[in-house]
Symmetry: C2
Subunit: 336 residues, 2 copies
């Protein structure tokens, strides 16, 4: 009952060596005789000794904890990436701490402060809105996923992205291949729509290549946090206004689903009358009674690369390539 967890001192005492030696054995650091090592390892096993990470972290001013900052963990796509990232981290001996900011951005700094005071060794930022402000005097790797900040040159940071241009391009190609001529995008409208979004760039490129003209009025814009119902309504409005396309590329499979329902509701058949391509390869894309053609990201590869970059940044303090882009794959199904 009163038996406390074994400490490094217990191990040292039982081995008749100093704590320093035990520490070296544990961390495969410095030199020690094979004999000593064997003995120390024996005692460790015998005692069931596990180093106290808190003490290690305090002493080394670091840890094996990595923060993962996300805004909407409940989105299936986000959840997928986070889960895979945590898995990969664990495989490499790290533990991920998810900071799910949600809608309340004012929380973000509080959360981050708390997490930083845990001595996290790195921070993954997944599609959060704001650029991250690291606390002074504490430079840790920041790995941006699916959102490259303006300036990647300074500090220990890097970005890993999915090729959105390719996503738009391949989706559009598929629609054209299937015979569409009046194609449109169903997309989120972000607050600062300075540049055309990358997906649209790719989309346009495909149109241009095929010599098809684009009627921008056919496209549907919804709010950044739009849900199934919002898209359903927005697509409906366009249709009612006589602005119907014969092919839609939707920024998410959920959007594709709303679009399909909305079309069907009006007597339009998918894919016979209208084709639809979704994005992200969510479960609904397979669960729909007509499986949805979609664009799949290489989420596993992205997560592996992200963790790999973290390690490089931690070890070498530098990276050959600060910006990695992963291609996407079109998954043809029943809606095109």
């Amino acid at each position: 009952m009163a038996k406390q967890r074994a400490t490094i001192q217990d191990v040292a005492r039982m081995c008749g060596v100093s704590t320093a030696t035990v520490s070296r054995v544990i961390n495969r650091n410095g030199r020690f005789s094979p004999e000593t090592e064997r003995q120390v390892r024996d005692v460790i096993r015998q005692l069931g000794y596990v180093p106290n990470q808190t003490a290690q972290n305090l002493r080394t001013r670091s840890s094996k904890l990595a923060g993962i900052l996300v805004s909407r963990l409940s989105y299936e796509y986000v959840n997928q990436i986070v889960t895979q990232l945590e898995d990969e981290l664990f495989r490499q001996g790290y533990i991920g701490i998810v900071c799910n900011i949600g809608d309340n951005f004012e929380n973000e700094q509080t959360y981050l402060d708390a997490v930083f005071s845990l001595n996290i060794c790195a921070l993954f930022v997944f599609a959060s809105g704001q650029p991250i402000q690291l606390p002074e005097g504490r430079e840790i790797p920041v790995i941006y996923i699916n959102r490259a900040p303006e300036n990647l040159d300074a500090g220990l940071c890097c970005a890993i992205e999915t090729d959105s241009v390719a996503a738009g391009y391949k989706a559009c190609r598929e629609l054209l291949r299937a015979g569409c001529r009046r194609v449109a995008i169903v997309r989120r409208q972000f607050g600062d729509s300075r540049l055309p979004r990358s997906r649209e760039v790719g989309f346009m490129k495909a149109l241009q290549e095929q010599g098809v003209t684009c009627d921008e009025r056919l496209s549907v814009s919804v709010a950044e946090n739009a849900q199934y119902g919002d898209v359903y309504a927005a697509v409906g409005e366009k249709l009612d206004a006589g602005l119907a396309a014969d092919g839609y590329f939707c920024e998410s499979d959920i959007f594709a689903l709303s679009t399909i329902r909305c079309l069907e509701r009006r007597g339009l058949r998918v894919p016979e009358d209208v084709k639809v391509v979704g994005c992200n390869d969510l479960s609904v894309a397979q669960y729909n009674y007509r499986t949805i053609t979609t664009v799949r990201h290489q989420t596993e590869a992205i997560c592996r690369q992200a963790v790999e970059n973290m390690r490089r940044l931690l070890e070498d303090g530098a990276l050959e390539q600060r910006h990695t882009v992963f291609d996407v794959e079109l998954v043809p199904r029943e809606t095109t």
Copy 2:
């Protein structure tokens, strides 16, 4: 650049008081003059000082970190609970650490060891298979969610569950109300099927009350980790064997979806010919072209209670009620 994060010593020095005093102010512990307090707080703000949790944790042998052990974070229902749990924890000043064990149970102990050595203050266990073995000399609250262990009397533990009996009961009632007379369950088959599962108990109870007999052969069993396709196949087998029901209660909305597709594939219409009730109120239940009648859990209330119990256990070391059960709600939609 070289400027380190401020420490409690910096604050103390700038205030002309000792670190002990600053510590007391931060922790609202012991006594100090209002004047001192004001000054200390000023300096803290000025410096942007945030206490180093690692040091606090080492010193107090505890932390504000709570482990959350789950087996399949990617399941929407699991993800929902975990997200809400993390939110609630954060609201109360704690940080959740998700341990997603996945399929490889051999990882579990490794993961737990790592997490324990972080001095976590409590552990939430969400529907994991094994009973948790706490390390010796380290008694922390363990809160089981949706899985009550055999013995709840010992130690700082408690269980919070959804009323599965009610789930089965309400689902069955709904099927009977809608006119079904040959009803069945589509369920996971666990390795140790010693007792009839609670959902089935409730299901049977409703049948009995209405004087309807049950043909057990109509029910469909799938493996514990069965997916959409497995259920589709299993239901199909039953149908092909002439064992068709006119009402199905499925243990998950995904299962309900497979069942519906399987039925439709064979020319049976839902809900005209066959009724279906799902469970968990997942997104697919709303996204299906015919929304699925389902059973909803009080996930938010469950998470609030879970965190509340943790705090009680931490503060008082005891709980009036070690086992809490939350009722479920039937959500009638278009499949019944």
